[in-house]
């Protein structure tokens, strides 16, 4: 379990987050949504220890700041929005970086990069240069790197975590579904997933829990069916939105055309 309590972040003397509480359970997919500039990425960066914050973030009850970088790297992997690479690494070499410092400790270290690339639909791309890939392929290659880092969702009876910052933002719809299923599968096998999402419909399909931010504050959290209500969403995004329900399975979807 990851618990964030009263997270406040100030960047360049401008307050970005005004005290946010969030609890994410292992075995679940927790999605952070909200309009542009609402602080989604900043909240994730605070929870991964990338920006200074006041408040507390704990992993299984222990304060995040008490972990060493190497220990944290064992417990969670982080996929940033875009990672430009310096130097001409091959795709295989980029994915292998996920094993940094643990090549000797991981049993099938030589095979993992190939398995991870297959999982994100990039089998056969091993020998290509990372810089020659398209934006969506680069994003999936980095996802493979992150997967390699925490390949088993549970290790030593502790859940491991994936932090994904807009993992599907530059993907086509087929790969969006593939990656979201991959993330949900990671959670179903006992790991924890925290994802910053833009697409509300994908979030409604895959999230177990949604945290809706607006202007650096939490507007609502809970299961998508409860958070995605007309009035909450319209307030958050500053425009009229209407949530609908498709007949077969009863999930919610958001259709901008349907707004009054």
């Amino acid at each position: 379990m990851i618990t964030a309590t009263d997270i406040r972040v100030v960047l360049n003397r401008r307050p970005i987050l005004h005290g946010i509480d969030l609890t994410a359970e292992a075995g679940q997919m927790t999605c952070i949504v909200g309009p542009n500039g609402s602080g989604k990425t900043t909240l994730m960066r605070a929870m991964t220890g990338e920006v200074d914050y006041s408040g507390a973030v704990s992993l299984d009850g222990a304060e995040l700041k008490s972990f060493s970088p190497a220990h944290l790297a064992e417990r969670r992997a982080v996929l940033p929005q875009a990672t430009p690479m310096a130097f001409p690494f091959t795709v295989f070499e980029v994915v292998r970086l996920g094993l940094t410092g643990r090549e000797a400790l991981v049993p099938n270290a030589a095979q993992l990069p190939h398995l991870a690339l297959a999982a994100v639909g990039l089998q056969g791309y091993e020998g290509r240069f990372f810089q020659q890939l398209s934006g969506g392929e680069q994003q999936r290659a980095h996802l493979a790197r992150v997967l390699v880092q925490v390949w088993h969702p549970v290790q030593d009876q502790r859940a491991r975590w994936l932090f994904l910052d807009e993992p599907v933002s530059s993907l086509d719809i087929g790969h969006q579904l593939q990656i979201m299923r991959l993330a949900r599968d990671f959670a179903r096998r006992g790991g924890g997933v925290i994802a910053v999402m833009h697409d509300l419909n994908l979030t409604a399909m895959f999230a177990d829990k949604v945290c809706l931010l607006a202007e650096g504050r939490k507007l609502a959290d809970g299961p998508p069916a409860r958070v995605f209500a007309d009035d909450i969403l319209s307030t958050a995004y500053g425009c009229a939105l209407r949530v609908s329900t498709p007949p077969p399975d009863g999930g919610v979807f958001i259709l901008p055309q349907a707004a009054a």
């Binding site: 060493s68 690494f89 091959t90 295989f92 070499e93 970086l97 940094t100 020998g127 240069f129």
Partner: protein, 356 residues
Amino acid sequence: MVAMPLAEHMPSGDRSQRARWLIALLVLLTVATCLVSLRVGAAGVSPLAVLGDWLAGRDVGLRDRVILLDIRLPRMLTGVLVGASLAVSGAVMQGLFRNPLADPGIVGVSAGAGLGAVTAIVLGGLLPPALAVWAGMHLVPFAAFLGGLGSTLLLYRVSTRSGRTSVATMLLAGIALAALAGAATGMLVYVADDAQLRDLTFWGMGSIAGASWIKLAAAAPVMLAGLVAAPFLARALNAMALGESAALHLGIRVQMMKALAIVTVAASVGAAVAISGGIGFVGIVVPHLLRLAMGPDHRFLLPAAALLGGSLLLGADMVARVVVAPAELPIGIVTAIVGGPIFLWILLRKRGLVDL
């Protein structure tokens, strides 16, 4: 699009086996260059014949022994160490700045180290005698180290914001740093006396011709320390190719590793500059060629750079000794003639990287 013709030949994408073979070849090359460099010289002394005589218990002539042991051997060791230090510090610096154009000579670190060395030569006499005796022969390398450290730190501060290095800022700041260091060096030269001027002139030409056991004893420990520290940076530099926060998430102590990288660069460049003056382009050409041949994985790149840098500098030294014999060309001229065009070639091939 950058032409990368090697891609088709490595479907697995794993170049570590190729890198291991290449390093083995480079070991052979380094050993061969070292032996040849003991052989090349104005006097016809064959190291093998001398060694044979010595092993057979025959008397080795004083002249041969002096030439071999007191002239050629320290020169050979100096060349290997300086070349290895320059190439490794280039590779470390490029990893730290995430850019293949970061070279200690180009971005003003060598100039800063040079200022340190000149300061020590000219103003060393002003030190309290007790301190001067204590510092002794280590004064010049240590001052060069401080100069290199100061300029690397300043450069990093100026050109890197939240883990991203602006290449334009880095190169321009390097020009400014080199100009400042050059101006300060000029002022020191202006106040130097005749004996100091002689020292400075020979030192500044960039040569390992004056190599001696004494100079080597002063600078070698610092260079060796830098070479020994470098492999510990390899994983961190690999991870930092993803950016600093990604490296942090991979478990790297980024701030500590950055500090170690900066000190390593300053130590290697400082000691190399103190002993040999300004020798340019080794730090940029060697890592670049190796990245083309075996990829940018620093676990292999750093040792390979040490080997290729060492043998390349020895080779350049032999050329410098031979082309205008019996006189000698400063080795810096040879490396610049070879390295300058390669630097331009990198710029032309990788325009995209410069705009990064």
